[in-house]
């Protein structure tokens, strides 16, 4: 191993700590995103116009402005209205709220993609609307949205790297510090890249396993390959609904 690589590897404990923080922020933000997405999806289908408008505004504003700006708003602007968050919490909130807007649309599409005949069959069988949703619509919607939801988990992970801009010591932030100290940018960023690839592939691999346990009959997943990411990631082109 060259001298440069050895130097960088001396920082491995720092890298691993940062990786842990990245993962921790990712999981918290993803949880928040699930909640935001679910609440917004329900609000967008609500009977009350006010809820629909608010949720619509949330989704459109978040999706049409940069996430970095949203991070800055939470960290630098909220204190001037009395909400003071530490950098990590601010990051969790900003990224969770951001990805929640995307998940909202995923969940909505997931519900509306359940064929209409499913609800009708349940209705004739005598199931109440609530029972129909819980036993027939929701389980199928969950299957439908699973791959896209995992995809958004990966987006959360990648999004955490922006928290370097508010000095959170996550993976990217620590990498820039070590780079400044060693000036070995090739080695430092190559190692960082590798660690991100490990994280993203590990997350989607785990999600793939979970999906296999959760869903019967099995989800249509591509055959396992070298790149677990490919398995759960939705195609860039949405699949047309068979009606």
């Amino acid at each position: 191993m060259s001298y440069q690589w050895r130097t960088v590897f001396e920082y491995l404990p720092e890298f691993l700590d940062a990786m842990g923080l990245t993962l921790w922020i990712t999981l918290q933000a993803f949880l928040l995103a699930l909640v935001c997405g679910l609440v917004a999806a329900l609000a967008r289908n609500s009977r009350w116009v006010m809820f629909r408008l608010l949720a619509g505004a949330y989704v459109e504003v978040i999706r049409n402005t940069p996430v970095l700006l949203q991070i800055f708003v939470v960290f630098f602007a909220l204190p001037s209205v009395g909400v003071r968050l530490d950098a990590v919490t601010a990051g969790v909130v900003a990224i969770g709220v951001n990805v929640g807007a995307y998940l909202c649309e995923v969940f909505r599409a997931g519900i509306s993609s359940v064929a209409r005949g499913q609800g009708e069959a349940a209705q004739v069988l005598g199931l109440s609307p609530r029972q129909t949703f819980a036993s027939v619509i929701a389980p199928q919607a969950l299957r439908n949205v699973y791959p896209a939801t995992v995809n958004n988990l990966i987006q959360v992970l990648l999004g955490t790297s922006l928290l370097t801009a508010i000095a959170v010591p996550e993976l990217t932030g620590v990498a820039t510090v070590i780079n400044a100290r060693t000036l070995l940018f090739v080695q430092v960023f190559a190692l960082t890249l590798l660690l991100y690839l490990i994280l993203s592939n590990a997350l989607s691999f785990a999600a793939g396993l979970l999906g296999r346990v959760m869903f019967k009959p099995a989800l249509d997943q591509a055959r396992p390959g070298l790149w677990p990411l490919r398995r759960t990631r939705p195609s860039a082109i949405p699949v047309e609904v068979s009606s």
Partner: protein, 216 residues
């Protein structure tokens, strides 16, 4: 809160916004070219080539943009000196990164055309080239445009991440004013409005034209 500040700083912000737009346009062209190339290479029969193209896509889709930008920036600084162009580094980084996503869009767009279409064309006597040119491509275009524009929206927003390599685009220019005036809210609102004005119409277009979907 000093709302006056919006008017005072608007010329400065608009100038930075112009740079943001320039960066976006250059990078959109760049990532489309890269995406076409890599997407095409992925369908090549030579396995090494297809494998490399796939690795490219996987690496960039599995890692965050700041890493790519930092790589390009420091690489350029090392080999071209610190006077090297931050704008160019940002454009290259954005193109390379989003090119991976664009490549996936093109590839799945081509695959979304049912193979029966190809077979039908070939039984009519069209050559492989003619089949691609007259049967597959026209159908691909309709399928590919909405997600492609969606990707461009992401790219436009991602120009703000050039912040991390110090390019004074809209985000950085705005943050400089915030640091100086300690008035974040008016400035952030202005910045948000500028991005929104560009991205929202594009989003509406995407929504109107995208396929009715299951969120696969």
């Amino acid at each position: 809160m000093n709302w006056q500040l919006i008017w005072i700083s608007l010329p400065q912000l608009l100038r930075a916004f112009l740079l943001t737009l320039e960066l976006a346009v250059v990078s959109i062209i760049g990532c489309t070219v890269i995406g076409l190339l890599v997407g095409g290479l992925r369908t090549v029969r030579l396995r090494i080539v297809a494998g490399l193209a796939r690795a490219y896509v996987e690496v960039f889709r599995g890692s965050p943009l700041p890493i790519t930008l930092l790589f390009v920036y420091f690489g350029a600084a090392l080999y071209l000196g610190y006077s090297s162009n931050v704008f160019a580094a940002a454009a290259v980084g954005l193109s390379v990164y989003h090119g991976a996503y664009v490549a996936e869009i093109f590839r799945s767009g081509i695959q979304a055309v049912p193979s029966a279409q190809r077979e039908a064309a070939q039984t009519l006597g069209l050559s492989a080239m003619q089949t691609f040119r007259f049967v597959v491509l026209p159908q691909t275009r309709r399928i590919v445009f909405p997600p492609l524009i969606g990707q461009f929206i992401s790219l436009i927003k991602d120009t703000s991440i050039a912040f991390v390599i110090g390019l004074v685009e809209l985000m950085k220019a705005g943050q400089a004013i915030v640091d100086r005036t300690a008035e974040p809210i008016p400035i952030y609102l202005t910045i948000a409005a500028l991005y929104f004005v560009i991205c929202y119409p594009l989003s509406l277009w995407v929504r109107r034209n995208e396929r009715k979907i299951v969120p696969a």
